[in-house]
């Protein structure tokens, strides 16, 4: 099968928003060039709170109106009227609530390659949404204006699961992507939307840091079609100091996703001086191969200075190439270089015959040589979700 190149601008958000997403444009969510956060924060939290509030699925009631959240490994213990670390969940009188159910803070139609998911319906669009909040606080976050604020500090559009699925379908997106901030913190909404999507023939993919407890993760694996995990480094020290999280639970997440048979890809954002040593690349690649297998795609992507890490330069392309060379040498089959448009390592190569089977230039797809999930040249099975 050979697919023709599909121009990314056909899927660009602004056009879609202006022409076809009046519900988003009307509430100011659709504009990529939205007002500064400060302006948005000026807006009062006058959204009817109740429509966004559902009881959390994973928590434990303690004495004296305290609760312990059991959604992510942080296990926040929260007093009455207080919120968890993520800012998206609140204890009200001893009952724990998500404040972000169907509370969409941003929505875009993105190429699936932007997630990036390279082995999942290449050349298609993903109806991509996020709510406010995150259960970590990465110093390099590109989306901190959504992830590091509370839900009432940004505009929120009410988009219940069935409407979300219908919108994705209406705009010919075969998948909904839960992305930008951290879908773990809007877990209940993701779960219900994935079900609503499947009922309408729309798939669901999550883009996550993987900081989640095992029980909710397993349920996700059953109703999601793919989960991309940001493996932010291979060092606990980095996770503690730069992410405000932990590495071990993320590795456990990846193992579980593989065991459950859900499609997964890994992104490793390479940050100069912080997680870019040969030893760390090698350790990460060896672990992926031994614990997940060589077929899990790994994307080494380029860092741009943002948020609290503005003192570091962009990642040199040579560093990304070094990371790829190390991972290739360890025997991983699908190692990509990301955020470097036009780099040859954006392409998917058949690990057997070495021919290019999915050609990419930035988010634009070139020729695809795949036949029923096999290499169009040599017949090698290429793992992924292709149709």
């Amino acid at each position: 099968m050979i697919l023709k190149a599909k121009s990314v601008d056909r899927r660009s958000f602004l056009r879609v928003a202006g022409a076809t997403l009046p519900c988003l444009a009307g509430c100011g969510l659709a504009s990529a060039a939205s007002p500064s956060l400060g302006l948005r924060l000026l807006l009062p939290a006058s959204d009817p709170d109740a429509q966004f509030t559902v009881e959390a699925k994973y928590y434990e009631k303690l004495g004296y109106r305290k609760i312990k959240c059991k959604l992510c490994p942080r296990e926040c213990v929260i007093d009455d009227r207080e919120r968890g670390y993520c800012g998206a969940r609140e204890n009200r009188g001893g009952t724990y609530y998500s404040l972000v159910y169907a509370r969409v803070a941003t929505a875009h139609i993105d190429p699936i390659e932007k997630k990036p998911l390279f082995h999942f319906l290449p050349g298609t669009s993903a109806f991509s949404i996020a709510t406010a909040g995150c259960n970590v606080n990465c110093k390099f976050c590109q989306n901190w204006e959504i992830s590091q604020v509370r839900p009432e500090q940004v505009r929120g559009a009410y988009m219940p699961p069935r409407d979300l699925a219908a919108l994705a379908k209406q705009y010919q997106c075969p998948a909904i992507a839960y992305t930008y901030s951290e879908p773990v913190i809007f877990y209940e909404y993701v779960a219900d939307s994935a079900d609503a999507g499947h009922a309408q023939g729309i798939r669901s993919v999550v883009i996550s840091g993987g900081y989640i407890q095992q029980e909710p993760l397993k349920k996700w694996c059953h109703n999601l079609d793919a989960i991309k995990i940001d493996l932010k480094s291979f060092s606990e020290k980095f996770y503690k100091e730069v992410v405000n999280g932990e590495l071990k639970p993320v590795l456990e997440t990846l193992v579980t996703i593989r065991k459950q048979g859900t499609w997964t890809e890994i992104v490793y954002l390479v940050i100069p001086t912080l997680n870019d040593s040969d030893a760390e690349f090698k350790a990460a690649a060896q672990w992926v191969k031994s614990d997940l297998g060589p077929d899990v795609p790994v994307h080494f992507t380029r860092f741009h200075p943002e948020y609290l890490l503005t003192n570091l330069p962009d990642t040199p392309v040579e560093t990304l190439e070094r990371a790829k060379a190390i991972a290739d040498a360890e025997g991983l089959h699908y190692v990509y270089v990301g955020n470097v448009p036009g780099h040859p390592a954006e392409n998917t190569q058949c690990p057997k015959c070495r021919r290019v089977i999915v050609e990419r230039q930035g988010y634009t797809i070139g020729q695809i040589h795949l036949k029923k999930g096999k290499c169009g040249f040599c017949g090698q099975t290429i793992p992924g979700i292709w149709t």
């Binding site: 400060g38 302006l39 924060l41 009062p44 800012g87 509370r150 009432e152």
Partner: protein
């Protein structure tokens, strides 16, 4: 979305004349001398200090066992007198008005940063806010903003929309908004409340002394978690060093003139929520300009009460507020936690 109107205090204070105030205040104390430490009086005239006193941070603990009369609610008149005694004593002033004139200048917009997250019972009390407003107005302040994080928090503590008094506004950061750019210090990167950065020339902090299940305790330093957009990110490791770092942000550090700690009821366990079985009717105010010294003294009060009730110390529960020591260290210098350098004045 529609903007919410400014709030007002629900219970309207009785009118008191300035002369009456002066008479009351003059009858109180006045032996102490003003301490101009750290975030103190920001260029306003200070009292003459002896060399020995100048090295110390004064913390005044003013109590009135009869603050509630024969009932359970605070007596407004007695609370006002208690406030007068505390402020006058802290500044060593001849009258309450003299003392207030060392804190603020006519023409300034003065913010009152309250703590009202926990609702009634464990928030800055309405009657204390009333008393401070009254004295500020008598000192010539015509523009006062009472603020905390959310309008709904203000309301739950007894303040409501629609100011009925000229010159006083009640507003949550959710209505006033936050700055566009991050303010960064050490471990902290936050957007600051515009009420703090743009509206107020000076801030008087009215924190509540209470136990805190995650941060150990909350008082003067932690009150300014209510000035940032993301306090939920900074409760890790018992708030250390986050609480100290937040207080290093210039807009906070430079605008605070005075802390009037509400210790009328001290939640010594189970905080920050209001749990009446552990609420101690301390019937006091804790006043100072050194937030580290205030926190240190407040912490000791909580520990003393816990010990007297047979409870474990915060340290034994792995929630000692070590951020207090961090705030005093050479990287912060926000005040002192050295008891030898704190002049604790109990009146």
């Amino acid at each position: 979305m529609s903007a919410r109107a400014a709030n007002t205090i629900r219970a309207r204070p009785t009118r008191r004349t300035f002369l009456q105030t002066c008479a009351l205040g003059a009858a109180a104390f006045g032996s102490g001398r003003a301490i101009d430490r750290a975030s103190g009086t920001a260029g306003l005239p200070s009292s003459t200090l002896t060399d020995k006193q100048a090295d110390k941070s004064r913390v005044v603990i003013a109590r009135d066992p009869g603050l509630r009369g024969s009932g359970t609610s605070l007596d407004s008149d007695r609370l006002l007198k208690l406030l007068d005694r505390a402020i006058q004593s802290f500044y060593g002033a001849d009258s309450p008005l003299d003392a207030w004139k060392r804190v603020v200048r006519p023409g300034e917009c003065v913010g009152l940063k309250i703590n009202c997250l926990a609702g009634r019972g464990a928030s800055t009390t309405v009657k204390l806010v009333e008393a401070v407003i009254e004295r500020l107005q008598q000192a010539g302040i015509t523009n006062i903003v009472v603020w905390d994080r959310l309008n709904s928090d203000l309301e739950s503590a007894g303040f409501r929309a629609g100011s009925s008094r000229p010159g006083v506004q009640f507003i949550g950061n959710d209505t006033a908004g936050y700055e566009d750019g991050l303010a960064i210090h050490g471990s902290v990167g936050s957007l600051l409340s515009r009420t703090l950065t743009r509206t107020c020339d000076a801030v008087i902090s009215l924190p509540v002394l209470k136990d805190h299940g995650i941060a150990g305790m909350t008082f003067a330093l932690k009150n300014f978690f209510g000035a940032i957009h993301n306090p939920n990110k900074y409760h890790l490791t018992v708030g250390d060093p986050y609480v100290a770092d937040v207080n290093m942000l210039p807009a906070i550090r430079q605008k605070i003139r005075l802390h009037i700690g509400d210790a009328t009821a001290v939640q010594y366990e189970g905080g920050p929520s209001f749990l009446p079985q552990w609420s101690w009717r301390f019937n006091g105010l804790v006043v100072g300009t050194d937030p580290v010294a205030l926190d240190y003294v407040g912490w000791q009060l909580i520990e003393q009460k816990r010990a007297s009730e047979g409870m474990k110390s915060l340290a034994a529960l792995n929630r000692a507020p070590n951020y207090i020591a961090t705030a005093a260290d050479s990287g912060h210098r926000l005040g002192t936690n050295d008891p030898k350098r704190i002049e604790r004045l109990e009146i």
